[in-house]
């Protein structure tokens, strides 16, 4: 249902210039997000998750270059837009939730002021109307005493409450795409669970798709419909959430799943992936995972593997997919 896609990204390549040298961080990533769907992007720190979202939103610093065949949001091509037009799209059609809501909230303004400003600016609502919508969305995300919250400043709220307020703020603008970058990482597990359940409920009510970034496989299992696994700037595997957790194919995905100490499993033995994820300055020929891969052979060191379909909706990039360790 191509008509139902809210986001379509083709061949996204992003590089940074540091000390007059170009370092590529994303090596051609493609994916799409459909309406009422949560796509999780999972990978270790530095693999390019956040750069990916910032590339889509056009929020990268000056020294970054974004190249993409196409980035379409709700049918509109974003690659051709000027920064001013991009600004408008960002406010109207994309909502963002970050790990630390304080980075997005103005500490000097009350919650009410910040919520209504956005509504007035982007949706052209009047003062009373904006206040009514703000109250309604706060209630919708389960914030207690919404009237009082509107009068409070961000620092007066706990981390969990701030994250709820952030979500309400984003929701009130009725975006087509919700981008959540590690939104629950700074929260305690009990509060994380509350926020994840909230996001899951909202997904059905909203007319939007969700792009959810996380490093935590437990969170992925809980919230994703589909998953892409990113390693060192490359999409190594993509599939439905059951495909990824029950039939992982790529050696990296398999290794990652084996490294998580799971509270539900018995007799887990600590099984790390040897080595560390590469940093951007390291040039790696062939498969980017080969220095850490137990299945690596000569071809892996020479030739980058292409994505291969394994089942409908499930694909992985590896020369030796059929070899089970």
């Amino acid at each position: 249902m191509p008509g139902d896609l809210v986001l379509e990204v083709r061949d996204l390549k992003t590089s940074f210039q540091l000390h007059k040298q170009d370092y590529r961080v994303l090596h051609g990533v493609s994916f799409e997000v459909a309406r009422h769907e949560t796509l999780c992007v999972v990978g270790e720190s530095g693999c390019g998750k956040s750069v990916m979202t910032l590339s889509i939103m056009g929020l990268l610093p000056e020294n970054a270059t974004v190249q993409a065949q196409s980035i379409r949001l709700d049918g509109q091509e974003l690659t051709a837009l000027s920064p001013r037009q991009m600004n408008k799209v960002r406010g109207r059609k994309m909502g963002m939730i970050f790990q630390e809501p304080m980075t997005c909230l103005n500490p000097l303004l009350t919650i009410g002021r910040q919520m209504t400003e956005g509504l007035k600016l982007h949706l052209g609502l009047g003062k009373e109307e904006a206040r009514r919508v703000a109250l309604e969305t706060l209630k919708q995300v389960g914030v207690s005493n919404p009237e009082e919250r509107l009068r409070q400043y961000p620092f007066q709220l706990s981390g969990g409450l701030r994250q709820r307020v952030m979500i309400a703020m984003v929701l009130s603008l009725n975006p087509r795409l919700l981008i959540a970058d590690e939104p629950t990482t700074a929260l305690d597990v009990t509060i994380q669970k509350q926020v994840l359940l909230l996001l899951r409920q909202l997904k059905h009510q909203l007319d939007a798709g969700v792009l959810f970034i996380t490093h935590d496989l437990g969170v992925v299992a809980e919230i994703a419909d589909r998953v892409i696994v990113l390693y060192a700037g490359v999409k190594v595997e993509e599939g439905g959430v059951r495909q990824i957790f029950e039939q992982p194919a790529h050696p990296y995905t398999i290794g990652l799943l084996a490294a998580v100490p799971n509270i539900k499993s018995e007799g887990y033995t600590l099984s790390p992936i040897p080595g560390t994820p590469p940093n951007i300055a390291q040039a790696i020929e062939g498969c980017r995972f080969h220095p850490r891969c137990g299945r690596a052979t000569d071809i892996c060191r020479e030739q980058a593997p292409a994505l291969r379909a394994l089942a409908p909706g499930h694909s992985a990039a590896c020369h030796h997919l059929e070899v089970r360790p």
Binding site: E44, S45, S158, G160, L161, D188, V189, T190, I191, Q192, K193, Q194, L196, L197, R200, Q201, H215, D216, L217, G218, V219, V220, A221, E222, V241, R242, F245, E246, G255, L256, L257, A259, V260, P261, N262, I263, K264, Y268, L270, S271, P272, I273, P274, T276, P277, N279
Partner: protein, 536 residues
């Protein structure tokens, strides 16, 4: 894991004053024994006091009250000056206890007198009479309360004294007790000096001296002499202590009405500490003990100085605590790098040239440099990626097996705790909720908080069905004015009436499995039975 205690915490409390008589109650009444060689996991939501507890144990913060006793060093190994201080204070404890008790008797008399006055008036008569009645009644209550306080004060003084000499604090011949202890201490100091000499000669810590030097004849003679001196001093110290021990339970001063009760003597004897009460050490004495107690922090980058090479960072503890020369220090640093799975070349690296996992390895190398006994890890792996986290856990496992380390493993990651720790302590708002070996804790959690916490942990398995309700609603209340009764009651799904009024006691629900919840005490089990609906 042996069952020898390495550290006991006794009613440990830490408050951070805020001014205006208010304070953050970060750690409330923690009593716990940490055993030698165990990996104790400490979990709970942020702000539950985990980190504060770890820091109080290491005396990075001083406790507000309670004791933290370390058994890894014997008195003669630690410089026993604090012990000498306590011995000098013994008469003062006794005197103060006596004074508080005598005063409490007087106040009690006054209270009785006030009550007698009160009864002269009647509460139902004229307005004036009622006022007089109320006045005397208030005074009587106040004085009764004050007497009680004084009684407690007396007990407290005796308890403090008993930490050093047990029930001998009740002795009429406290002078003689004091003398014997001073004598023993003098001998212990001698032994300590001889021991230090042995250390210098490389006889006790072979790692610090090259073998060739240890076998030189003049060294051998000096070492033998020191050894003899040490043994003699220890023998006389033991004799003096034994003589004091013989005076126990004889010739008692009847300071309070409990003083004749053998159960009370027993209690005081139990208070006697064979370990080192860390809270009573002075800064310098603490430095000596601190070699044994190390901490590994959460952020590997923040704990390293960016201008210092890895080698220098690892050698720092040797510069501070040992007299090793440069070459020996470097040799030890390289050895340590290898132990933590790094290479000699890393010796010259700067922190920014290392990955997060490597920085954490350097932090670990530094912490184990002086062969500590007890290591506090505060969220030490939380900043690492899962693939690397497992590598560091394996390293910690190896080191534990190799050096018999004891870990106090603070984390919010319950998955790691389940697979890494032997025992788990669950904390909420400064209190222990549950303490049990890892397997029963995860298989059969008892405390309602533990259950909801476990149910909240995301698992890397696609759930069979979607739930709509979070296992635990609301957020952790403020530690400035925590809820009364059971601190968990406002969020507890299993609350029963008694929970609001009374703090639950810690009970051992199964061998080694303790839980602090009314659902598991006898009284409340009966109350539950009388409840109309099922509470469990």
């Amino acid at each position: 894991m042996s069952l020898a205690p390495l550290m006991t915490l006794n009613k440990l409390k830490k408050r951070f004053p805020l001014g205006g008589g208010r304070s953050i109650k970060a750690v409330e009444d923690i009593s716990l024994t940490v055993f030698q060689g165990e990996k104790l996991g400490v979990v709970g939501e942020s702000g539950c006091g985990k980190s504060t507890l770890g820091r109080v144990i290491l005396q990075l913060y001083r406790q507000t009250s309670g004791a933290c006793v370390y058994y890894g060093k014997s008195l003669q190994e630690a410089r026993p000056r604090y012990f000498a201080r306590e011995v000098r204070k013994l008469p003062r404890y006794q005197r103060r206890a006596d004074k508080a008790y005598q005063r409490s008797l007087q106040v009690e008399d006054q209270a009785r007198a006030a009550r007698a006055h009160m009864e002269e008036f009647s509460a139902q008569a004229s307005h004036r009479e009622t006022r007089a009645y109320n006045r005397w009644s208030r005074r009587a209550d106040r004085q009764a309360f004050r007497a009680l306080e004084l009684r407690k004060q007396a007990s407290r003084q005796l308890r403090e004294g008993s930490r050093t000499v047990g029930s001998l604090i009740l002795s009429k011949d406290l002078d003689q007790v004091q003398q014997l202890y001073t004598q023993a201490l003098h001998q212990l100091t001698q032994a300590h000096q001889a021991r230090r000499q042995l250390l210098r000669l490389g006889r006790l810590a072979p790692a610090y001296l090259p073998d060739s030097e240890k076998d030189m004849p003049e060294h051998r003679a000096a070492a033998e002499l020191a050894q003899r001196r040490m043994n003699q001093a220890m023998d006389s110290a033991r004799a003096a202590l034994a003589q004091a021990e013989g005076m126990k339970h004889q010739n008692l001063l009847m300071l309070t009405e409990r003083c004749g009760d053998p159960a009370y003597w027993q209690k005081l004897d139990n208070n006697q500490e064979s370990g080192i009460n860390l809270g009573k050490l002075s800064g310098r004495e603490l430095r000596d003990v601190r070699r044994d107690l190390q901490m590994i922090f959460q952020d590997p980058a923040a704990s390293l100085d960016p201008r210092q090479t890895v080698g220098r960072a690892i050698e720092e503890p040797f510069r501070i605590h040992t007299k090793l020369d440069k070459a020996a220090r470097k040799a030890r640093a390289v050895e340590l790098l290898e132990i933590v799975g790094m290479k000699e070349e890393h010796h010259g690296y700067y922190p920014h040239q290392l990955s997060g996992g490597q920085k954490q390895r350097v932090g670990i190398a530094r912490a184990i440099a002086l062969h500590p006994r007890f290591v506090v890890l505060d969220e030490s792996l939380s900043a690492l990626d899962v693939s690397v986290q497992a590598q560091v856990l394996l390293l910690l496992n190896d080191l534990q097996a190799q050096f018999g380390l004891t870990y106090f493993f603070i984390t919010h990651n319950l998955g790691v705790v389940k697979h890494f720790c032997d025992r788990v302590m669950v904390m909420y708002l400064g209190h222990i909720c549950e303490l049990a070996p890892a397997k029963p804790l995860f298989d059969r959690p008892l405390h309602p908080y533990t259950r909801s916490l476990l149910a909240s942990v995301p698992v890397p398995q696609v759930p069979e069905f979607e739930t709509d309700e979070a296992p635990l609603m609301g957020e952790v209340p403020s530690a400035v004015s925590p809820p009364g009764g059971c601190v968990f009651h406002p969020r507890c799904p299993d609350m029963i009436p008694i929970c609001q009024a009374q703090r639950p006691p810690m009970v051992e629900a199964a061998p080694g499995h303790s839980v602090c919840c009314h659902l598991y005490t006898k009284d409340s089990l009966e109350e539950v039975a009388h409840e109309p609906g099922p509470a469990l």
